[in-house]
Subunit: 337 residues, 2 copies
């Protein structure tokens, strides 16, 4: 029998915990360590930290990244920040430990426009060490980019692409409800947008990936963030939104080529949305439309996409990969190591 | 500048012609030859045979496969038959010419259950010559298998998969309307099904690919073909269907594991269908449903999927590949060679 895939979890926040719980279900995977600098987590049992039913697991969360990474895992599941410049050193450290990396860092999903220097360095370092890394998740990484490109496999010609994602955030975790500005006054919302706090990360990355994959030649990417204003009070498990306050965000990214809109990505993420859904439209030959009624649940799907990417990243040529390159699929729990 | 991708078309029937017309739009591709044994085509100009607007192209269709293949194309687009045993020698000849192959042969889409011997031989031969081959198209190859597996990238657990494809065949070409039994009496339909003439090829291949990709452990695949009975007369450009006659077929393939239905694929393909659509449902965590209202047009999409597979097959490791392994995407017309 082949040895199991040895995995390390880097970052045990809400998404990291969801990844770990799912990883634990895969027979082909052995979790050999976890890294988190939060004093409330470091030193504790990983199973207990992630709220697993059958804890403890006998795996300690450690704040000492270098020590954990020295175990030379096959793959590091990385989930610490949305900003590539914040995590570049962490990623380089993983690569130097000769581990492949699957990261939820949104800016890593398609980093070539915003961070060409870091992208080149990560790619070169990964090749030096003979490993591959990818930034992925549900969005960016799947519904607004990979799925668009996959659907275009049936297209003879594509002139423009559109993706609209509507998410009812009512049942989502508190940090997410805060990140989308739910319960803020409109003035506060505006301030937080200006401060970069209220924002979904990754739309420009999706626009760039779609433009490159479809050959749409987008030269300029714009992005706007407006509040969705609550018409009536909304109450979630975590917070209350009064009528007239922000219920969440309405974010639009556009990709323009020669002044024409080639890619349009719209995200409505707010508490009290009547129905969640994902919709993709390709204009061309043929025109084609796809919908996922009810949408793809962000947290469940993010953990799923990340864990399902493991076989593909282990199999990928060394270097910086994106979900565009990888055959995104499913990692069966009963798959053999 | 790199040289263009040199392509040969093997089989210039309706699908082959659609492939050729699309190939011609790709700046990165040069068509260097075409093979067809039909005396009505052999010796004529390829552009004229496929009904291109700007013919002649100065490329002759030839009945001499060996001679054309000796040009050692980078890729052969193969479209001659649905039956793998009928085309195995053709495929081996392409591989021995050191050409990659993209074929529309439905049984090649996932040949491991029905033709394990041929599959092994093709795989070994492809590896010997350092090239890759794949059988693909819209169905099998995309809507009922690859798209199902791609959607499962957002799944944490999958218990069962279902794909339902409804195709209004009214606007489709005559051979297809005949293949689905449109205009036959119910008795004739039954005879033609028994003779293997009225049939859509590829559902069991899709069931097998989905079972393997999702780890569903399907042991047995069943298939039934029933007529869709016309309730009122239907007239198409090519034929007339009287009330009470067959308007087309209703074909169902099931994948069973331990007596339980794990994969369900349903194809309704008939003239007069009110609305075409493709629907995929995954049961598990989460349940997820995707629809393509209007469906993916068979002929347009088949040519598209096949031509769009070229960059992936040229980039793939040597051997027999399936659409399960390849990152299905779009091949931009303006892509550089």
């Amino acid at each position: 029998m082949r040895k199991k895939i040895r995995a390390i979890q880097y970052g045990v926040g809400p998404i990291g915990a969801a990844i770990v719980r799912l990883l634990r279900e895969k027979q082909a995977v052995e979790i050999i360590g976890a890294i988190d600098t939060d004093p409330a987590k470091a030193g504790r049992d990983l199973g207990e930290v992630v709220g697993a039913a059958h804890a403890p697991w006998g795996i300690k969360v450690s704040a000492d990244a270098a020590k954990v990474l020295s175990e030379a895992a096959d793959v590091v599941m990385h989930s610490t920040s949305s900003y590539l410049s914040d995590v570049a050193e962490q990623l380089l450290e993983c690569l130097a430990a000769e581990s492949c990396v699957v990261s939820t860092c949104e800016e890593l999903a398609y980093p070539f426009r915003k961070h060409p220097g870091i992208a080149a360095k990560l790619d070169a370092t990964a090749k030096d060490w003979g490993v591959a890394l990818v930034g992925t998740g549900v969005n960016p990484g799947f519904v607004m980019d990979k799925l668009v490109l996959t659907l275009a496999a049936v297209s003879q010609r594509v002139e423009a692409a559109k993706a609209i994602r509507i998410v009812d955030a009512s049942k989502r975790r508190l940090p997410l409800q805060k990140k989308i500005g739910a319960g803020m006054t409109l003035e506060e919302f505006k301030e937080k947008v200006a401060a970069g706090v209220v924002k979904h990360h990754g739309l420009p990355e999706s626009v760039a990936m779609v433009s490159d994959g479809l050959g749409l030649g987008v030269e300029e990417i714009t992005e706007t963030i407006e509040p969705v204003v609550a018409r009536e009070p909304v109450k979630t498990e975590f917070l209350e939104v009064a009528a007239g306050q922000a219920a969440g965000l309405h974010q639009i990214a556009r990709g323009l080529a020669g002044g024409q809109e080639k890619v349009y990505m719209e995200l409505q993420m707010y508490v009290g949305a009547k129905e969640s859904s994902d919709t993709i439209e390709l204009s061309g030959q043929p025109n084609i439309r796809m919908t996922i009624p009810g949408g793809t649940h962000g947290d469940i799907a993010t953990a799923a996409v990340v864990v399902n990417s493991i076989p593909a990243i282990l199999d990928a040529p060394a270097g910086l990969r994106t979900s565009r390159d990888l055959p995104m699929c499913f990692f069966p729990p009963t798959a053999k190591p």
